[in-house]
């Protein structure tokens, strides 16, 4: 049974209160390493949004197939292969259509295969029994949420570049604490919107 939630509230909730990064901790590795630079953050955010939307839809269809064959336990392997294949295909298509877009977005695509956010959205979609449209809306919203979060963090890190931070806290330490404050701000509205 698909859960009873409107598309619009699902969309908003996946961007803000159930942000895939700040509430579910997915996609942290590249989030921390890439957010040093605003332009790369923008490119990666765009690529994540695109791949999340497509893989959520494709994996939904694949999941129905696995369920009808009774081999759902194979889903981890199948999801990963689907994600790798979609990423590879996108890379080739973008390279063919627009070399300029490829320069700004294509170089981030290989990184995405191992981004936990992508696999995470597919697994959440399975656990929460989303319908096809709900999966796509959730995938798109989560991608936008990830994009928003990485841009915000990149901007904050740029501002605090010259700040006098204690030696042991520099780098990863202060970044984690910054993310903690961002998480508090995003999750603060969870009373108004919830996604389950």
């Amino acid at each position: 049974m698909a859960p009873d939630i409107g598309y619009f509230s699902l969309f908003l909730a996946s961007i803000l209160t159930s942000n895939i990064l700040l509430a579910n901790f997915l996609g942290m590795c590249s989030f921390i390493s890439i957010s040093k630079d605003i332009n790369s953050s923008n490119g990666l955010g765009m690529a994540v949004t695109l791949v999340l939307t497509i893989t959520a839809g494709v994996n939904w269809a694949i999941l129905q197939l696995l369920q009808s064959l009774g081999i759902v336990y194979l889903r981890f392997i199948v999801f990963i292969i689907v994600i790798a294949a979609v990423v590879q295909m996108l890379e080739m298509i973008i390279d063919r259509i627009s070399p300029r877009l490829y320069m700004s977005l294509g170089i981030f695509l290989p990184l995405i295969t191992v981004n936990c956010a992508i696999l995470g959205v597919s697994l959440f979609m399975e656990i929460r029994n989303y319908s096809f449209l709900q999966s796509i809306v959730y995938g798109f919203g989560s991608g936008l949420g990830w994009w928003l979060a990485i841009m915000a963090l990149a901007a904050i890190r740029k501002k605090t570049e010259k700040a006098p931070i204690p030696a042991g806290l520099q780098g990863a330490g202060i970044t984690m604490i910054t993310i903690g404050f961002m998480a508090m701000a995003f999750i603060g509205f969870s009373g108004m919107l919830q996604v389950q």
Partner: protein
């Protein structure tokens, strides 16, 4: 990073993986799942055992197969090996610990994309013999487990007033709800990184 040129001794590997290049607080790898499950000690422990098992076994397998895998496709082969062991962990959890399996939700599957496992397979198992790779995988997993258990200890203690589900805080202690919510995980990891680096800087000085 353990560097490939140095002779791989079990003791040195243990120290490097548990402390000097601890996957979480020195390399900041694999924290996606590290943060999500750390609000209860029991869940954390089981999750970490799953990671230790997967890292050790996939390191062993990758090391055994390294001669047979063409270099070009090694990434996808490593991913499939890891996914294979994660499926085993998932099925075992579903069968014997259904409650924990439900609580961990998607995070069991997400062990696949845990950068620690892939990192060890690529950086160590690819160029070392099987037994020592197994040991390297186990100690890396243990380094991950150690940090997770410390975070979970404080989060459960302050958030629920319990440890492993038993109430230890006195009755007047108000539970800090923020401790079981996502932001506290970030704060704690930040603090742990800070403390760890400070001790290390002092050792170096």
């Amino acid at each position: 990073m353990s560097n490939a040129a140095a002779p791989a001794r079990p003791g040195a590997i243990l120290k490097s993986n548990l402390w000097t290049s601890n996957p979480i607080f020195m390399q900041v790898l694999g924290i996606c799942s590290a943060l999500a499950v750390t609000n209860l000690l029991v869940n954390t422990f089981i999750m970490a055992v799953g990671v230790v098992f997967t890292t050790a076994m996939s390191n062993l397998t990758v090391s055994l197969l390294k001669k047979m895998i063409p270099r070009k496709v090694r990434m996808i082969v490593q991913t499939l090996v890891i996914a294979f062991y994660v499926i085993i962990v998932d099925i075992v959890l579903r069968a014997y610990l259904p409650d924990v399996s439900r609580a961990l939700g998607p995070y069991v599957g997400l062990i696949i994309t845990n950068c620690i496992i892939m990192g060890r397979a690529e950086a160590f198992a690819q160029s070392n013999p099987p037994i020592i790779s197994f040991w390297d995988g186990m100690t890396s997993g243990a380094g991950y487990m150690g940090v997770l258990m410390v975070i979970a200890f404080f989060r459960e203690l302050f958030g629920f007033g319990t440890l492993f589900g038993f109430r230890v805080m006195p009755g007047w202690f108000p539970d800090w709800t923020i401790m079981v919510m996502p932001p506290s995980a970030f704060f704690f990891l930040g603090l742990i990184i800070w403390i760890g680096k400070n001790i290390m800087n002092r050792e170096a000085a």
